[in-house]
Symmetry: C2
Subunit: 143 residues, 2 copies
Protein backbone atom coordinates (compact mmCIF):
# COMPACT_ATOMS: atom_id res chain seq x y z
CA UNK A 1 0.00 0.00 0.00
CA UNK A 2 2.36 2.68 1.26
CA UNK A 3 6.13 2.53 0.90
CA UNK A 4 8.21 1.79 3.97
CA UNK A 5 9.38 5.37 3.81
CA UNK A 6 5.81 6.54 4.06
CA UNK A 7 4.88 4.16 6.85
CA UNK A 8 7.82 5.31 8.93
CA UNK A 9 7.02 8.91 8.07
CA UNK A 10 3.46 8.61 9.28
CA UNK A 11 4.46 6.93 12.51
CA UNK A 12 7.16 9.50 13.11
CA UNK A 13 4.80 12.41 12.57
CA UNK A 14 2.27 10.94 14.97
CA UNK A 15 5.05 10.38 17.46
CA UNK A 16 6.41 13.91 17.16
CA UNK A 17 2.91 15.37 17.33
CA UNK A 18 2.34 13.60 20.59
CA UNK A 19 5.55 14.73 22.24
CA UNK A 20 5.36 18.15 20.69
CA UNK A 21 2.14 18.77 22.50
CA UNK A 22 4.13 18.77 25.70
CA UNK A 23 6.37 21.46 24.26
CA UNK A 24 9.24 19.06 23.80
CA UNK A 25 11.63 18.72 20.92
CA UNK A 26 12.39 15.17 19.92
CA UNK A 27 15.74 13.88 18.77
CA UNK A 28 16.12 11.48 15.89
CA UNK A 29 17.27 8.78 18.25
CA UNK A 30 14.01 8.95 20.15
CA UNK A 31 11.96 9.03 16.98
CA UNK A 32 13.80 5.97 15.74
CA UNK A 33 13.12 4.13 18.99
CA UNK A 34 9.53 5.28 19.16
CA UNK A 35 8.72 4.18 15.64
CA UNK A 36 10.94 1.16 15.13
CA UNK A 37 12.57 2.81 12.14
CA UNK A 38 16.35 2.69 11.53
CA UNK A 39 17.80 5.93 12.83
CA UNK A 40 19.59 7.07 9.69
CA UNK A 41 16.69 6.11 7.53
CA UNK A 42 14.16 8.05 9.54
CA UNK A 43 16.66 10.92 9.47
CA UNK A 44 16.33 11.12 5.70
CA UNK A 45 12.59 10.96 5.93
CA UNK A 46 12.40 13.72 8.51
CA UNK A 47 14.67 15.86 6.36
CA UNK A 48 12.30 15.48 3.46
CA UNK A 49 9.28 16.25 5.62
CA UNK A 50 11.21 19.25 6.92
CA UNK A 51 11.89 20.52 3.41
CA UNK A 52 8.18 20.23 2.73
CA UNK A 53 7.47 22.17 5.92
CA UNK A 54 5.44 19.43 7.54
CA UNK A 55 7.78 19.37 10.49
CA UNK A 56 10.35 21.76 11.95
CA UNK A 57 13.70 21.23 13.56
CA UNK A 58 16.47 22.96 15.43
CA UNK A 59 20.06 21.84 15.41
CA UNK A 60 22.45 21.67 18.30
CA UNK A 61 22.06 20.83 21.99
CA UNK A 62 18.43 20.62 23.07
CA UNK A 63 17.54 20.68 19.42
CA UNK A 64 15.30 18.20 17.68
CA UNK A 65 12.06 18.00 15.77
CA UNK A 66 8.81 19.62 16.74
CA UNK A 67 5.45 20.76 15.43
CA UNK A 68 3.66 24.06 15.78
CA UNK A 69 0.06 23.97 16.97
CA UNK A 70 -0.74 24.90 13.42
CA UNK A 71 0.84 21.70 12.10
CA UNK A 72 -1.69 19.55 13.89
CA UNK A 73 -3.93 20.23 10.93
CA UNK A 74 -1.62 18.13 8.76
CA UNK A 75 -3.54 15.14 7.43
CA UNK A 76 -2.34 11.67 6.62
CA UNK A 77 -2.88 12.60 3.00
CA UNK A 78 -0.39 15.45 3.32
CA UNK A 79 2.25 13.05 4.58
CA UNK A 80 1.47 10.44 1.96
CA UNK A 81 1.64 12.99 -0.83
CA UNK A 82 4.93 14.33 0.49
CA UNK A 83 6.57 10.91 0.61
CA UNK A 84 4.82 8.68 -1.91
CA UNK A 85 3.48 11.23 -4.36
CA UNK A 86 0.01 11.43 -5.86
CA UNK A 87 -0.34 7.82 -6.96
CA UNK A 88 -3.16 7.19 -4.52
CA UNK A 89 -5.15 9.86 -6.29
CA UNK A 90 -4.18 9.17 -9.86
CA UNK A 91 -3.27 5.53 -10.37
CA UNK A 92 -5.45 2.72 -11.64
CA UNK A 93 -5.57 -0.26 -9.26
CA UNK A 94 -4.49 -2.56 -12.04
CA UNK A 95 -1.74 -0.18 -13.07
CA UNK A 96 -3.26 0.66 -16.45
CA UNK A 97 -2.01 3.84 -18.01
CA UNK A 98 -5.36 4.39 -19.63
CA UNK A 99 -8.20 3.95 -17.17
CA UNK A 100 -10.93 6.52 -16.75
CA UNK A 101 -14.68 6.95 -16.90
CA UNK A 102 -14.63 6.64 -20.68
CA UNK A 103 -12.19 3.75 -20.81
CA UNK A 104 -12.65 2.01 -17.49
CA UNK A 105 -10.56 -0.97 -16.43
CA UNK A 106 -12.40 -4.12 -15.36
CA UNK A 107 -12.79 -2.99 -11.78
CA UNK A 108 -12.86 0.77 -12.27
CA UNK A 109 -16.47 1.31 -11.28
CA UNK A 110 -16.33 -0.85 -8.24
CA UNK A 111 -13.03 0.62 -7.14
CA UNK A 112 -14.23 4.20 -7.51
CA UNK A 113 -16.18 4.02 -4.29
CA UNK A 114 -13.41 2.27 -2.39
CA UNK A 115 -10.85 4.79 -3.55
CA UNK A 116 -13.14 7.64 -2.53
CA UNK A 117 -13.52 6.25 0.97
CA UNK A 118 -9.80 5.64 1.23
CA UNK A 119 -8.98 9.17 0.18
CA UNK A 120 -11.53 10.55 2.58
CA UNK A 121 -9.89 8.52 5.31
CA UNK A 122 -6.41 9.90 4.75
CA UNK A 123 -7.66 13.43 4.19
CA UNK A 124 -9.88 13.64 7.21
CA UNK A 125 -7.51 12.15 9.74
CA UNK A 126 -5.15 14.79 11.06
CA UNK A 127 -2.30 14.66 13.53
CA UNK A 128 -4.49 16.64 15.90
CA UNK A 129 -7.18 13.99 15.74
CA UNK A 130 -4.62 11.31 16.51
CA UNK A 131 -3.36 13.26 19.50
CA UNK A 132 -6.84 13.41 20.95
CA UNK A 133 -7.64 9.78 20.25
CA UNK A 134 -4.35 8.71 21.73
CA UNK A 135 -5.01 10.65 24.90
CA UNK A 136 -8.27 8.88 25.39
CA UNK A 137 -6.61 5.50 24.84
CA UNK A 138 -8.59 4.83 21.70
CA UNK A 139 -5.62 3.51 19.78
CA UNK A 140 -2.08 2.33 19.91
CA UNK A 141 1.14 2.60 18.00
CA UNK A 142 2.94 -0.59 18.82
CA UNK A 143 5.88 -2.16 17.03
Amino acid sequence: MFSKTCEYGIKAMIFVAQKSKQGKRIALKEIAKGTGAPEHFIAKIMQELGRKKLVHSIKGPNGGFYLEAFDLRTSLADIVKALDGNGVYTDCVLGLKVCNEKKPCPVHDEYRDIKKKFIRMIEENTLGDFNEKLDSGQFFLVN
Copy 2:
Protein backbone atom coordinates in the same frame (compact mmCIF):
# COMPACT_ATOMS: atom_id res chain seq x y z
CA MET B 1 -1.05 -1.35 -4.30
CA PHE B 2 -0.13 -4.47 -6.24
CA SER B 3 3.38 -5.32 -7.38
CA LYS B 4 4.20 -4.98 -11.05
CA THR B 5 4.38 -8.74 -11.18
CA CYS B 6 0.82 -8.93 -9.95
CA GLU B 7 -0.49 -6.26 -12.27
CA TYR B 8 1.01 -8.01 -15.27
CA GLY B 9 -0.29 -11.33 -14.01
CA ILE B 10 -3.83 -10.06 -13.73
CA LYS B 11 -3.76 -8.52 -17.19
CA ALA B 12 -2.27 -11.67 -18.65
CA MET B 13 -4.89 -13.88 -17.08
CA ILE B 14 -7.69 -11.69 -18.38
CA PHE B 15 -6.06 -11.74 -21.79
CA VAL B 16 -5.65 -15.51 -21.85
CA ALA B 17 -9.18 -16.00 -20.58
CA GLN B 18 -10.49 -13.97 -23.44
CA LYS B 19 -8.58 -15.79 -26.15
CA SER B 20 -9.02 -19.14 -24.50
CA LYS B 21 -12.76 -18.81 -24.84
CA GLN B 22 -12.23 -19.13 -28.58
CA GLY B 23 -10.37 -22.39 -27.96
CA LYS B 24 -7.02 -20.84 -28.77
CA ARG B 25 -3.73 -21.29 -27.08
CA ILE B 26 -1.73 -18.12 -26.63
CA ALA B 27 2.02 -17.82 -26.95
CA LEU B 28 4.09 -15.75 -24.55
CA LYS B 29 4.89 -13.32 -27.32
CA GLU B 30 1.23 -12.54 -27.81
CA ILE B 31 0.62 -12.26 -24.09
CA ALA B 32 3.52 -9.84 -23.83
CA LYS B 33 2.14 -7.73 -26.65
CA GLY B 34 -1.40 -7.90 -25.37
CA THR B 35 -0.49 -6.83 -21.87
CA GLY B 36 2.46 -4.49 -22.41
CA ALA B 37 4.66 -6.65 -20.20
CA PRO B 38 8.25 -7.55 -21.10
CA GLU B 39 8.22 -11.00 -22.69
CA HIS B 40 10.72 -12.74 -20.44
CA PHE B 41 9.24 -11.16 -17.38
CA ILE B 42 5.72 -12.27 -18.14
CA ALA B 43 7.20 -15.68 -18.89
CA LYS B 44 8.31 -16.01 -15.29
CA ILE B 45 4.96 -14.86 -14.06
CA MET B 46 3.07 -17.33 -16.22
CA GLN B 47 5.37 -20.10 -15.01
CA GLU B 48 4.49 -19.27 -11.44
CA LEU B 49 0.78 -19.13 -12.22
CA GLY B 50 1.22 -22.45 -14.00
CA ARG B 51 2.84 -24.05 -10.97
CA LYS B 52 -0.10 -22.85 -8.91
CA LYS B 53 -2.49 -24.36 -11.49
CA LEU B 54 -4.21 -21.09 -12.33
CA VAL B 55 -3.25 -21.49 -15.96
CA HIS B 56 -2.17 -24.39 -18.16
CA SER B 57 0.31 -24.67 -20.96
CA ILE B 58 1.58 -26.96 -23.66
CA LYS B 59 5.07 -26.83 -25.07
CA GLY B 60 6.12 -27.12 -28.67
CA PRO B 61 4.58 -25.99 -31.96
CA ASN B 62 1.01 -24.78 -31.57
CA GLY B 63 1.58 -24.82 -27.87
CA GLY B 64 0.94 -21.94 -25.52
CA PHE B 65 -1.15 -20.99 -22.53
CA TYR B 66 -4.83 -21.67 -22.10
CA LEU B 67 -7.58 -21.96 -19.53
CA GLU B 68 -10.16 -24.66 -18.97
CA ALA B 69 -13.79 -23.60 -18.70
CA PHE B 70 -13.36 -24.46 -15.06
CA ASP B 71 -10.63 -21.85 -14.63
CA LEU B 72 -13.01 -19.03 -15.41
CA ARG B 73 -14.02 -19.25 -11.78
CA THR B 74 -10.59 -17.94 -10.79
CA SER B 75 -10.98 -14.64 -8.98
CA LEU B 76 -8.73 -11.63 -8.89
CA ALA B 77 -8.04 -12.58 -5.29
CA ASP B 78 -6.69 -15.96 -6.40
CA ILE B 79 -4.22 -14.26 -8.71
CA VAL B 80 -3.23 -11.68 -6.14
CA LYS B 81 -2.66 -14.34 -3.50
CA ALA B 82 -0.60 -16.41 -5.93
CA LEU B 83 1.70 -13.54 -6.84
CA ASP B 84 1.70 -11.07 -3.96
CA GLY B 85 0.81 -13.31 -1.06
CA ASN B 86 -1.73 -12.67 1.66
CA GLY B 87 -0.69 -9.16 2.62
CA VAL B 88 -3.97 -7.70 1.44
CA TYR B 89 -5.72 -9.84 4.00
CA THR B 90 -3.31 -9.63 6.84
CA ASP B 91 -1.36 -6.38 6.78
CA CYS B 92 -2.07 -3.17 8.66
CA VAL B 93 -2.36 -0.12 6.36
CA LEU B 94 0.27 1.65 8.38
CA GLY B 95 2.50 -1.39 8.38
CA LEU B 96 2.26 -1.98 12.12
CA LYS B 97 3.16 -5.46 13.25
CA VAL B 98 0.67 -5.22 16.06
CA CYS B 99 -2.70 -3.93 14.88
CA ASN B 100 -5.93 -5.69 15.67
CA GLU B 101 -9.28 -5.14 17.30
CA LYS B 102 -7.70 -5.06 20.75
CA LYS B 103 -4.76 -2.90 19.78
CA PRO B 104 -5.99 -0.92 16.81
CA CYS B 105 -3.80 1.46 14.85
CA PRO B 106 -5.03 5.04 14.40
CA VAL B 107 -7.07 4.24 11.32
CA HIS B 108 -7.89 0.62 11.99
CA ASP B 109 -11.61 1.07 12.52
CA GLU B 110 -12.10 3.29 9.56
CA TYR B 111 -10.00 1.07 7.34
CA ARG B 112 -11.83 -2.09 8.33
CA ASP B 113 -14.77 -1.25 6.12
CA ILE B 114 -12.60 -0.18 3.20
CA LYS B 115 -10.54 -3.34 3.40
CA LYS B 116 -13.68 -5.43 3.51
CA LYS B 117 -15.01 -3.80 0.36
CA PHE B 118 -11.67 -4.17 -1.35
CA ILE B 119 -11.45 -7.84 -0.52
CA ARG B 120 -14.99 -8.38 -1.66
CA MET B 121 -14.07 -6.69 -4.93
CA ILE B 122 -11.15 -8.96 -5.68
CA GLU B 123 -12.94 -12.08 -4.51
CA GLU B 124 -16.13 -11.55 -6.41
CA ASN B 125 -14.63 -10.60 -9.73
CA THR B 126 -13.73 -13.68 -11.72
CA LEU B 127 -12.14 -14.16 -15.10
CA GLY B 128 -15.50 -15.39 -16.33
CA ASP B 129 -17.14 -12.14 -15.27
CA PHE B 130 -14.50 -10.19 -17.12
CA ASN B 131 -15.03 -12.23 -20.26
CA GLU B 132 -18.70 -11.41 -20.23
CA LYS B 133 -18.23 -7.74 -19.48
CA LEU B 134 -15.61 -7.46 -22.17
CA ASP B 135 -17.92 -9.01 -24.73
CA SER B 136 -20.54 -6.41 -24.01
CA GLY B 137 -17.97 -3.62 -24.33
CA GLN B 138 -18.33 -2.62 -20.70
CA PHE B 139 -14.64 -2.22 -20.16
CA PHE B 140 -11.23 -1.98 -21.71
CA LEU B 141 -7.70 -3.18 -21.18
CA VAL B 142 -5.59 -0.51 -22.81
CA ASN B 143 -1.88 0.15 -22.34
